[in-house]
Symmetry: C2
Subunit: 113 residues, 2 copies
Amino acid sequence: MKVSNALLEEAVKIYKVLSNTNRIKILYFLENNEADVSTIVENVDLPQPMVSHQLAILYRYQLVTRDKKGTHVYYCLDDPHILEMVDAMLGHVSHEIKGEPHPYKDSEQRLSK
Amino acid sequence: MKVSNALLEEAVKIYKVLSNTNRIKILYFLENNEADVSTIVENVDLPQPMVSHQLAILYRYQLVTRDKKGTHVYYCLDDPHILEMVDAMLGHVSHEIKGEPHPYKDSEQRLSK
DNA sequence: ATATTATATGTCACATATGGCATATATAAA
DNA sequence: TTTATATATGCCATATGTGACATATAATAT
């Protein structure tokens, strides 16, 4: 695959965003719900300033949307596809942890290991 | 999705590994070739110690395998599926950059934007 | 105006990542 | 044994990320 540098650098930025358990926990909490900050705070069990800070990062990189209603700010996944990618990564590491061989499609085979 | 902390932390470690353009360039170069360090150095245009260092990280996290033959060390993608995940991320950011709406499957609709 | 609640921002100490460069190790050839 | 080549490792300055905490802002109610 031919990849431009600009694209690669953007992808790397998103990977940095995903390189933090708190942010991923927040994303997963938002999987099925739109939620305001206090609701997120209660559910992910992190101090409120930490949650606001991580939400700001998720928002800056367009992983969540923001909807202000009165004093409450409701956050929502911007692109559910992101969580599919995280799911794929969790699947990958769960194989690594169990020491299982990687699943191959069709008749692909390992040459050696 | 219910995710254990251990799994989440492992996934985050892999995201950190992918959070570097040099490492991703190396992974992409290995997409179609097994290659020794000097070949990688020539192709990704980075100083040799940098390439060795990044390869050591990729190896530690099982993204590449290593095969020593004489003085040469041949590296190979351990799991091509990783590159599929990177492809998905590149697809994601290319939509973000272009400001395009996220592609939705079937009849899914945005509630608002 | 004051108080209350929701959220965001700033600061700080600490840890970790980065890239550049020098040098060490290992294998093979002369 | 010496030399050359391939690769790995170590050191360093700098940058960036982390979580804890205090405090600021913003909207609403009294």
